[in-house]
């Protein structure tokens, strides 16, 4: 309900999103994606969508991240530097 908080959240949203796709370390990228999801959940709470926020926190930030980390344990962790 407070605009400045909105702005801060949206700013962090953009920052985490960009960071998640640019980082070379896939583990860091996945964790940042989790953070992104969590900020998104907060944003939705701001918008009055408490149930969606709750779901996103549980699914997007929680379980999805856990699955991604589980998958990463089988993969090479680093993304190759792109030419």
């Amino acid at each position: 309900m407070i605009v400045p908080i909105d702005f801060v959240l949206l700013f962090f949203l953009l920052v985490t999103a960009i960071a998640a796709i640019t980082l070379k370390d896939l583990f860091a990228a996945i964790v940042l994606l989790g953070a992104y999801s969590f900020i998104m959940a907060n944003m939705w709470l701001q918008l009055g969508a408490s149930d969606v926020a709750f779901t996103e926190a549980a699914v997007g930030a929680g379980t999805s991240t856990a699955l991604m980390v589980a998958a990463l344990s089988r993969l090479s962790r680093k993304a190759r530097w792109e030419k």
Binding site: D51, F54, T55, A58, V59, A66, L67, A71, S73, R74
Partner: protein, 159 residues
């Protein structure tokens, strides 16, 4: 990250924390799943339950996890959950002899009367549906987790 591949090591901090947290997470998950007045969030609840189990497995290893809930149950749970909520809809059709629509719970009320819980009839259906969804989601996520992280590696080892 992967206990099996690194030769699973006990980590006191993680295990202690997990021991503390898992019961609370489970209770919270159940609460979310069933709700306070009959309605709840089946999907979210299932997710939280799955997360609790995943935490447990991560901390204590697959062997102990198997003791808690064997993997083969996943299949069974997935189907059971679906039977509950798909069945709740189909029961409406069957009980009303195809006069009411799928998921039309007013058709289930006679059943609630027979069972003697007429006052809770609305909640009952929602409860069944939510629990069904929760069980399915939990089982699905857990089996997905096993698929991704451990399963085939163990098979390779076994062969």
């Amino acid at each position: 990250m992967n206990p099996e591949s690194t030769g699973y090591k006990r980590d006191v901090i993680i295990q202690t924390t997990a021991k503390l947290m898992v019961p609370f997470i489970l209770v919270f998950g159940l609460y979310v799943m069933m709700g306070s007045e009959g309605t709840g969030g089946g999907f979210q609840g299932g997710c939280i339950l799955a997360a609790a189990y995943i935490l447990y497995v991560t901390a204590f290893g697959t062997e102990k996890g198997r003791v808690m809930m064997p993997e083969s149950w996943n299949t069974f749970f997935t189907s059971l959950g679906l039977y509950l909520y798909d069945g709740a809809g189909l029961v409406a059709i069957i009980l009303s002899l195809a006069a009411a629509q799928f998921l039309n719970y007013s058709a289930i009320w006679p059943l609630a009367n027979i069972l003697g819980i007429a006052e809770a009839r609305g909640y009952m259906v929602a409860f069944v549906v939510d629990v069904g969804i929760g069980i399915t989601v939990m089982a699905a996520f857990v089996s997905q987790f096993f698929d991704l992280a451990w399963k085939e590696k163990e098979e390779e080892k076994g062969e």
